[in-house]
Amino acid sequence: MKAKIHVTLKNGVHDPQGQAIGHALESLGFDGVGDVRQGKYIEIDLVDSTEAAAQEKVAAMCRQLLANTVIENYIIEIDG
Amino acid sequence: MSAMTPAVFAEHGLSEAEYDKILDILGREPNLTELGVFSVMWSEHCSYKSSKKWLKKLPTEAPWVICGPGENAGVIDIGDGQAAVFKMESHNHPSYIEPYQGAATGVGGILRDVFTMGARPVANMNVLRFGDASHPKTRHLVAGVVSGIGGYGNCVGVPTLGGECAFHGSYDGNILVNAMTVGIADADKIFYSAATGAGNLVVYVGSKTGRDGIHGATMASAEFTENSDEKRPTVQVGDPFTEKLLIEACLELMATDVIVAIQDMGAAGLTSSSFEMASKGGVGVDLNLDQVPAREENMTAYEFLLSESQERMLMVLKPGEEDTARKIFEKWELDFSVVGRLTDTGRMVIREKGEVAADLPIDPLALASPEYDRPWVVAPPPADVCAADVPAPGPIFALLKNLMGSPDLCSKRWIWEQYDHLVMGDTVQRPGGDAAVVRVRDTQKALAITTDCTPRYCLADPVMGGKQAVAETWRNLTAVGAQPLAITDNLNFGNPERPEIMGQFVGAIEGIGAACTVLEVPVVSGNVSLYNETNGEAILPTPAIGAVGLLTDYTQAVGLAFPGDGLAVYLIGETQGHLGQSLYLREIAGREEGKAPPVDLDRERKIGDFVRDEIGRGVITSCHDISDGGLLVALAEMALAANIGITITAGGGSLSDHAWAFGEDQARYLVTAAGKHFVALAEVARVPVTCIGRTGGVALVWGDQTLTLDELRAAHEDWLPDYMAG
């Protein structure tokens, strides 16, 4: 079983890295680039038996370590 | 049918003659793994085959030299039972292909060279050369290299104290990233790489091995083509966090008494480190690749031997001391594995999965590597440039402002503010001066460190350029009050198979050697980087010099900032108004012409010794050597550093104003001095001295010209940040 986790900055938290990426895209000639937000992507191999158990465990991982919930949100996908 | 076709060994960078030599040594065809080992060991990068003959001519000895070239780094005595350990090394090609990781791993590699010898690294420096500012790749390369150097050095916690950065079109396709590290060790606890004692264990520590950088060493020994971007996968990735742990673990282990020999795995990895250790100690090695910690699965012997994964070391331990060492590395959470044993066979036997993957004699590979006497020619000297033929298109101060805001003379603050130059708490003089000064912890002593080279002089006259590079570093150290002790050289040139390039190399070595002899600064370590050219266009010859000097009392160091108002400013040395190859000629007149300024080493020595003595006696209270851009640029830098202006009362006499102001005559300093007898002191010492003005106010003033410090500072400080914001 594999957990795929996206960690992104919460809305409202200034994201200068995202801004710089947007600026770079514009200067490369891509038009129509709106707001850019960047984050982290983490993959974890798990041996849990059920998807629900994995979901719960990974959510705890996110709260305790993988995301700083003061500034970050997380989204978890479990692939069976 | 044999797998060893000419295409295969050509792909490994070996010539047909070299392949024949392999057949002679082995008495059979090598297998692919063995061929890989030969190709790395005999690459220009590892074997110095084109340069060896000439490097032998450099002076390398002095009573204070503890260890000269040939080890991981040079070692000099700095008194009180302490030693300074240092070296400079290039990471040019990897930095061009992937600037962040290339520069970062360059810093990592040179740090390992220094702490491998038992020294705690205390300072990093770097010499950078980029292509023309208008070249489309330059901005991206500057940004990547600077953040890579900072990213690595800042994390390991070693201050990056300066260096130099300049731009020229000849580096468009071949940037230079030369990194230097200086460390401090106990003089009686220096660790060397010669492996001895058949039966002793060979231990691998640090990071795991992956498929990084396979054939990086051969990449660094081949000219670039337009397809070089395809070589990207061979770039290795640095991990400064692991390096920091490796520094602490190695230094902790070195405080015990269990290491026989130690060597870092630099370019060419496990191959070159084990061969070098065995060859120096006259032993054989039996290595078992199954014991090498691997990061990836199914790696072949070929890949294990040629991987350039970073942050790894090889060491030989005294019998029975395995546990002591293992405990320390486990504490620091680093891999530790016994990978082999020394033998008395003189052969390197590599085993994998119970089979012999390679079986090679050590000495023929390591010592009998090819040595070439490549043909060389001396380029005819350029015609001289006469000041009368050089225009002064505007008032001198307007020209000064242009020069101070030009790419090579502008403030490099944008760069060094991205480097932690304060960590360790011993930084006496920060970046931006003539030399960095770093206190030796728990003593009154300090080391002064500088790097320099003027490639345009080297192109015009390699011998004079070589002399000048050494003389300028010597002058930089002198200007802060330090006694210069020794240098490291990083010789960056084009393709040595072209006689005119080889001629530059030979000439530069001659000049460096002459300056080292007269100025008593032996070469204790160094590195050669050849093939810095793309499609037949070579870089300017760039023999970068890193120099280290000693201050017995750090409180006596002086800086370049005027120490106050109302002080006389003296020019020491002779001014001839030499405009050939000057920055003025290039930046203002758009001409890269003329002879390099002559370097008179005896005069250099006499004037420098006087300046240093008077700094030591507390007479000279601020000092700046005059180099790129000439007298007025140096004066402007002193004023900006202090935020104090100056009224200039002297002039060039029979020289035209622009020649006096911007000529790049050598062996000159600007100083302020305490007391009224400075001129008399200089005259007694037979050193030319002229009072050229008095400090005060908030502007430079010369006759009817005025340039405010604010206006000058804006020109000087804004160019680089504006360019990078591009």
Binding site: V13, H14, V70 | C155, V423, M424, G425, R430
Partner: protein, 231 residues
């Protein structure tokens, strides 16, 4: 007085901190992160560096190491805790201090002298300064951009918990003098009780006239004066 300096893998300013504490007579000992017990001390310092490479987030993994549980316990018992740079990041990651430290707004590592205005000198940490004093000390960080939500910022301001703010040489607090984009120019904050201070700048690198000035020296002398002598 006695002090403990916590060392994580990747900490790199412990030597600077030990030097500054020793000079003030604070008798520092270094404590390795795997220890589960702290010696009896009056001050615990979490120094700067890149603990665990600052991988994942600056200060994150250190915030979960065994010794931090002990630091929390001691802090609750009233022992003073100073976190500088990476130490400040660790303290926010553990929740001992509110907010978070984001990547600098200009995205670059920055090492230079800054001026700090002393906003609240009513704790041992800043007792060596006059209220409103301006000190010159260096910063050296990549992630020093202080962030908290508006309610938290208002609480910090309202409760006098902003310890120091980035300012100009004359003490004026402007955007121009903000080196990293920190909200309200915040350079350092206290916890509610006032026994924990986290700050980004490095007072330990400003204790010698010839090595960058003495702007940070009153911090250490003040701590030694307020917390010592004991044993």
């Amino acid at each position: 007085m006695n002090s403990a300096v916590i060392v994580f893998p990747g900490t790199n300013r412990e030597r600077d901190m030990v030097l500054a504490l020793s000079a003030a007579g604070a008798r520092p000992v270094e404590v390795w992160h795997r220890e589960t017990r702290l010696p009896a001390v009056d001050l615990i310092v979490i120094p700067g560096g890149f603990s665990y490479g600052d991988y994942l987030r600056a200060g994150c993994m250190a915030g979960h190491s065994p010794i931090i549980r002990e630091v929390k316990k001691q802090a609750e018992a009233g022992v003073h805790v100073l976190g500088v740079c990476n130490g400040f990041q660790v303290l926010t990651e553990t929740g001992l201090l509110p907010g978070a430290l984001l990547r600098n707004a200009h995205l670059k590592f920055i090492c230079k002298d800054v001026h700090l205005k002393v906003e609240n000198n009513g704790t041992p940490f800043l007792s060596g300064y006059e209220s409103g004093a301006v000190m010159s000390v260096p910063v050296a960080h990549h992630d020093g951009n202080y962030f908290a939500d508006e309610a938290t910022l208002d609480a910090l301001d309202g409760e006098g918990r902003v310890a120091v703010r980035y300012c100009g040489p004359d003490g004026t607090v402007t955007r121009y003098h903000n080196p990293n984009g920190s909200q309200r120019n915040i350079a350092g904050i206290y916890n509610k009780r006032g026994n924990i201070l986290g700050m980004m700048p490095h007072p330990e690198d400003a204790i010698d006239k010839l090595l960058g000035g003495i702007g940070g020296k009153p911090l250490f002398d003040g701590l030694a004066g307020a917390l010592g002598p004991t044993s």
